[in-house]
């Protein structure tokens, strides 16, 4: 293989169009004669719609339609194993705050918004269940992404009671909303029973299939286009209600319809990371060697669908402990259905597990890194398989060196900078290396230029760049000769951009297609010439496949105000072959910033009596800003993996978002001596006596 282990740090192929404003994101697409749709969303979390008064809205000039359950066309809104149940104005029930209850279509954006404000909806409200603590509707899901939801190995309870050192703690994480900077947007046009949709989505193929099912038309009749995506983080992975509502509205008014969510609506029907309460028990001998781990996770789902935050999955495989139990329980609440959010399960799970490991390090009087090395899993403890590759030791060592771990005085509240308390913390990062089926065509034109075609998406992950780079390397062409086409269901199908599997999946397809094209050219065939590859899904096989890393943080805490400042973060990551050093580093850093938000800022707050969200905007829901981020660096630990997939790529999108919150939380403990187990770590939690 002539691919370098770490691909060149070339600039983004789409850099120029993004810095000049030329890149058209979904809402920027201007189609002739388009009308504007605006959703009206519920003002209660549970109950029924008593009446819809749209008289004033309809009487406004330029209002084309007001749809509610009273007059909306009947469509198939129910969910299945692969699709969430939707809110498509099919009945009078209200199941969560900000559920779509009406759609207004107008000639101009202002008219549509004004008319939406005039729709009067009366409700019969019922008392909602607003938290997992108060929910009595609990059950154990059977599986999570094909894994059993609960696993027991050995006899964890017996081993725990016999352990010389026991750490039993409860950690919790709040509801978080993805809040990509680009609001969800859909533009829909019908031509007879053919539907064309521009959509801000992480998965055009899924949108296509779902819309075909909802409107009961053949899949081939639906074309979905998504050229540029303004971030997704999992929130644009599901096909949500507004996508179908835009198409429904377009059909009703017989025009192209553009529907863009408002920022407050992005706290409604488009998913979120659910709240978790995680009980962790660690049993170890005096040297810190783990004999048992138990991780029992309670998280929320909606009253009408299921999503499991898989926080316990990581615990099955991260440390070599003979006795392990992980369980997942769901509690139904009157909130929207949660969904995947950057490192679903691993982000929340590593916060709990790695915080508990830090508590064990203190209980045993052992350095945090040394504790992890003593419990290093040489093979996957869950299934006994060999890891396809694992360079976690190297990550610990590199990260420790770069952050200056040896300067750390292990005693809490022992390091200061003037009146500020200093702290250093660390945690392990890990994310599974998955791969699903993907297709790609690589074509050489008569002039020798090459186009790579695959119906994947670019969320900001670098898809326009890295697959062109990959094909150029294989075909030994200058990068300027290769261009990537993506984001259109007319192209060969590619998977949802999620689960950090895109580089491995689409990359493998591009690799196979480009290699086939190269071989044919070498045999003397002449351009124009193209080769297609349909690379198969592959999970596991003989090896356990995971990426690993180590996260380190330095914080300063004001002892009087409880204000935490992240001064530095260092990540060291080993994720197989890296396609582009520059874009991979950016993804790692972005994941680490997500960890800062999780640790210190982000929390969607629900009113305990009404179940309504009280901070549904970016003034009340805090995400990290530039000044919240100190100096950061992400180091790439070179890793050759001959087993994980044909190109040895593991994926980098989510790894950086794992362990980062725990690294900050443990640094805050080191600085202050206060252990906050309920995220986010806000000043008042540090100031409690």
């Amino acid at each position: 293989m002539n691919l370098p282990l770490v691909g060149a740090a070339v600039d983004r192929a789409d850099g120029r169009v993004k810095v000049t404003g030329a890149a058209r994101y979904t809402a920027d697409v201007a189609l002739p004669n388009a009308a504007y749709a605006v959703m009206v969303t519920s003002e209660i979390a549970r109950g029924r719609i008593a009446s819809v008064d749209a008289v004033r809205a309809r009487s406004l000039q330029g209002v084309l339609a007001v749809l509610s359950y009273e007059n909306a066309p009947r469509v198939r809104a129910e969910g299945n194993d692969n699709a969430f149940a939707l809110s498509l104005l099919q009945d009078d029930r209200v199941r969560y705050d900000r559920e779509p209850v009406a759609v207004v279509v107008g000639e101009s954006l202002e008219r549509a918004h004004h008319a939406a404000s005039l729709v009067r909806i009366a409700y019969e409200a019922q008392a909602p269940v607003t938290s997992i603590e108060t929910s009595t509707d609990r059950y154990a899901p059977e599986e999570i992404f094909g894994h059993p939801a609960s696993v027991t190995r050995g006899d964890p309870e017996a081993a725990l009671s016999a352990a010389a050192i026991q750490v039993r703690r409860v950690y919790s994480t709040p509801v978080e909303h993805h809040n990509p900077m680009e609001p969800h947007a859909t533009i829909a046009s019908w031509d007879g029973d053919r539907l064309t949709v521009y959509d801000a989505t992480q998965g055009i193929t899924n949108v296509r299939k779902r819309l075909a099912a909802i409107f009961e038309i053949p899949v081939e009749n639906v074309r979905v286009i998504s050229s540029f995506l303004g971030g997704g983080f999992g929130g644009k992975g599901g096909v949500w209600s507004h996508v179908a509502l835009a198409a429904m509205a377009a059909r009703v008014v017989g025009r192209t319809v553009k529907l863009v969510l408002t920022r407050p609506q992005m706290f409604g029907s488009v998913g979120y990371r659910p709240r978790t309460i995680q009980a962790i028990a660690l049993g170890a001998d005096r040297d810190g060697r783990l004999s048992a781990i138990a991780h029992d996770v309670l998280s929320q789902t909606s009253v009408f669908d299921e999503f499991v935050e898989s926080s316990g999955l990581v615990t099955k495989m991260l440390y070599a402990a003979p006795n392990v139990r992980t369980t997942h329980t769901l509690a139904r609440v009157n909130a929207a259905t949660p969904t995947y959010m950057r490192a679903p399960g691993e982000a929340s799970g590593t916060f709990a597990l790695e915080s508990a490991m830090d508590e064990l390090a203190y209980a045993a009087g052992i350095d945090s890194i040394e504790l992890r090395l003593r419990n290093y899993a040489q093979t996957d403890p869950d299934d006994g398989k060999e890891f396809s590759s694992k360079h976690l030791r190297e990550c610990y060592a590199l990260g420790a060196e770069k952050i200056g771990w040896s300067e750390r005085d292990v005693r809490p509240r022992s390091m200061r900078n003037g009146r500020l308390l200093l702290g250093m913390g660390m945690a392990t990062a890990t994310y599974p290396a998955n791969r699903v089926s993907a297709s790609a065509v690589v074509r050489m034109e008569a002039d020798g230029s090459v186009v790579v075609r695959s119906g994947t998406q670019d969320l900001g992950t670098g898809s326009y760049t890295v697959y062109a780079q990959l094909a150029a390397t294989i075909l030994e062409l200058p990068l300027e000769r290769v261009r990537m086409e993506l984001g259109d269901t007319d192209l060969p199908p590619a998977p949802l951009s999620a689960g950090s599997w895109t580089a491995a999946s689409v990359g493998s397809a591009v690799y196979e297609a480009a290699s086939a094209l190269r071989d044919r050219l070498r045999k003397g065939e002449k351009a124009p010439l193209e080769a297609r590859a349909d690379a198969k899904a592959a999970w596991g096989g003989r090896y356990s496949t995971h990426a690993f890393g180590a996260q380190f943080a330095r914080v300063e805490v004001d002892p009087d105000l409880g204000e935490v400042r992240v001064r530095a973060m260092i990540g060291a990551f080993a994720a197989g072959r890296i396609l582009n050093r520059k874009t991979a580093r950016s993804q790692y850093l972005g994941g680490m910033v997500f960890g800062i938000g999780m640790a210190l800022h982000e929390e969607t707050r629900f009113d305990a009596s009404t179940g309504r969200i009280v901070n549904a905007n970016l003034a009340g829901y805090l995400v990290p800003v530039n000044a919240d981020v100190g100096s950061m660096e992400a180091y790439i630990v070179e890793e050759e993996d001959a087993h994980v997939n044909p190109i040895g790529v593991k994926g980098v999108g989510e790894l950086g978002a794992t362990g980062s919150a725990a690294a900050i939380a443990t640094a805050v403990f080191h600085a202050t001596g206060v252990r906050v187990r309920d995220l986010p770590i806000t000043p008042e939690k540090l100031l409690q006596p």
Binding site: D11, R12, D14, G15, R16, K18, V19, T20, G21, A22, A23, Y25, A27, D28, A30, S108, L109, E110, H178, N179, P180, M181, E182, P183, F228, L229, G230, G231, F233, V260, T262, R263, L459, G460, T461, G462, K582, T583, R585, S586, Q587, L589, G590, G591, M592, V593, F594, N617, L618, A619, V623, P624, V625, N626, A627, D628, V629, S631, M632, E633
Partner: protein, 147 residues
């Protein structure tokens, strides 16, 4: 508008942001919140940074408005645009037009003295992709070259 006189007839309630996006087809300026909380809609009005979602178009008749489309000189990118590409100061690119216009104004105002100042001054422009470290590097690089 970007150095060109543009005539436009809009309702008084149309924001500057919607006038740009929906009436002038200048969609480089982004709507991230429409509430003045994210900075994605930042443009320069008579050289000053303005959140175009929080101001009405009719209030700026006769003003000089610079959007991301008016920053490059023909094919030659503005130094801040170049630096953003070189330092990979974005991922999805959605916040980028606002970040670049904010940075251009800061550089002109001489407020980019050190990293802490850059971070503080750029904090009105959210980036959910978390490109902050690279944004600082890009702004710093231009500041160093121009002073």
């Amino acid at each position: 508008m970007n150095g060109e006189a543009r005539e436009l007839c809009v309702e008084p309630r149309v924001t500057l942001l919607d006038a740009l996006r929906e009436h002038l087809d200048l969609t480089g300026t982004k709507k991230g919140c429409d509430q003045g909380t994210c900075g994605a809609c930042t443009v320069l009005v008579d050289g000053r940074r303005v959140l175009s979602c929080l101001t009405l178009a009719v209030m700026h008749a006769g003003a000089s408005v610079t959007t991301i489309e008016g920053v490059a000189r023909g094919d030659a990118l503005h130094p801040v645009q170049d630096a953003f590409v070189e330092h990979d100061a974005f991922q999805c690119g959605y916040c980028t037009p606002g970040q670049i216009l904010c940075a251009i104004a800061l550089l002109q105002e001489g407020r980019t003295l050190d990293d802490a100042a850059i971070r503080e001054q750029m904090s009105g422009n959210l980036c959910r992709c978390g490109a902050y470290e690279n944004i600082v590097a890009a702004v710093r690089a231009v500041a160093e070259r121009t002073t």
